[in-house]
Amino acid sequence: MTVNESSGGIFKSLIASRITYVLAIIIALLAFLYFTRGLSIILTILIQVTIFSIITMSLNLESGYSGIPQFGRVAAVIAGAFAVGAIPGRIMAAFMGLPAGAEYASDTVNFRLVPEINTLLANSWLMSLGFLAMCLVIAALSGALIGWLISRPAIRLKEGYLGISMLAIGDFLMWVGHNWSIIVGGSVPVNVPDPFRMFGTNRFTVIVVVFFVIAVLIFVYLNKLTQSPFGRNLRMLRDNDLSAVAAGLDIVKVRTQCLVIGAAIAAIGGGLYVIYTGSVAAIGLTRLTFTFWPWAYMMLGGIGSNIGVFLGVILLTILRTMIIIFRSTWFGFLMAVGIDPLWLEFTLLGAVIIIVILFLPHGLVPEKIAPMLPSKRIKKVLADRQVVSG
């Protein structure tokens, strides 16, 4: 996972050129889609890209920087999605004097409640903004809580055991949501009040802008975090946990903090996803979509680099969308024998994972090990010390 630094300039220019190639391909594909299918498909792709960038960046913090095999990413996403589906709507309903207890999630009540909340939200931008902020805060808090709860029994387990336990917990949470109808309606999806209702036909454009701002903020935060001493601890833990212990690091504490932060961010992603789709269907929050696809994005982009994650997400999302759009025109030979080309999405996912592992182990943008402080500042600190001691 570490990059050989001795190859210096050539290596750097190679990476830079690789980024430009990938960007060129992405722009070409987007332009192709824009001219054949129009703007709406671009907006859909961009919304998915922002949501999955957030989820994949959180996965990158846990698996890429700290080496925890996070195969239960979906658990935190579910926590965020359920929290946004269950709590903010109830708060609004209680505020408006509507039924807000267990009956809120019942399908005979919910479909009348949510439009009423929506009309209130559509009339006041302040209310909408407050509602969105409330959703984000609630999602992050519940994600942090579930991250902490999962970390308690699991944190002391070894690599594989830890990954499998988290995978099982994620699946179990999905079944709980599917069967316990008080949370998000069980098998009947519960509707989520829409804070973007006031924009009418421009809803998707506004969603793209808002989600993109949130994703950039998280990106900046994660970059700061991974360059801080805490980020250094995480990498040390990943590369050699024995020496980390010898250096006096509390492994359990650092890992728990990492899991809690990552889960909170992933839960924000889950919350944004249900705000975008407008409903929470527990059975749709599968580990395939919210654990394995983010893993593929991260591995293609480059484990341990957030720029790479963004490139990986956007490239694979475009390819996925293209399979869905062009399934009848490009894969007619499969349709002729009754095969739905939609299954090629799984083939693509599996093939990307295998090709990346075999031929591109560092991904499109390998992790860059940079000094924690710029050299000027290090020199200045040293000079100051000499002045003091001299």
Binding site: P153, A168, I169, G338, D340, W343, F346, L349, G350
Partner: protein
Amino acid sequence: MAPWLSSGLVYASGLALTAGSITLLYIVTRTFNFAVASMATIGFYVAYSGVTLYGGLPYLYYPLVLIIGAITGVVCYYGLNRPLLYRKAAETTLMMSTLGYDLILLSVIQMYADFLTHSYKLFPRRVTMSLFDFELFGERAAAFILPIIAIAFLTILHIFLTKTKFGIAMRATIENPTLAGASGINSDRVYLVSWIISGGMAALGGSFIAMAMTGTPVMGMFIIPLMFAGAILGGLGNIYGGILGGMVIGLTEFAGVFILAQNFGPWVLGYRMGIPLFIMAATLLVFPRGLSGIPLAKIIRNLFRRKRGARA
């Protein structure tokens, strides 16, 4: 037999085989095999296609199931696992690589199901395999035949591992790969054979599980946490532990759901996956190395010692 016991036994023997397959592969190659999910589903579809296209009982097609499962294992070994093993890849990388293979197999299964629907006018997306079974002593025959097949398979495996020269070489590689290599054992062939055996076991286990629950193209994907739970419960250190773990997981799931549903009502059925996971978590808390980590010999010795002390 109690109503839960007959399907519980079938299901548990299927889980035992798949959990054993995961354990075998883990101790030989350090690979957590996600592809067991799709290998199991493939086993089910081989038996299903045989029964619906050529007639007969599902048991007739089990040799074919074994062979096709072994072929999927060999493809995975040569295409994917071998280069990574020689590169000394990390455990997580090995795990992810089998996940990629699993997803490709899953897409092949889905396409095959579409193909069966279109060309043979079958309904392969919701299959009750037990309809093709016959009755024996007032029960479904699977409840007797499948545990016997599982036990026979495991006995052959045990004889292979303890009595044949190659089996002993395999155990040597499991115990100490470096020393085994120094004494002239071809580790490449050991890895290959372990992939063949575990592929066959996984496919056979899948065709067993389909006799106890509805067979769908995503059947393996839904129950893979339980297969892993069985393997982890067994301690991942020893094949017999894995088999025992799968058996315990399968039986407790059926018994637990039956008893809880009688006492608390049918809403428990939705949470049936929680029971085996809870058992796994509880066992890991008490015995961090799983069932095979329980120091039975030591406990028995301590018991005897105390008795002797009391007499003196």
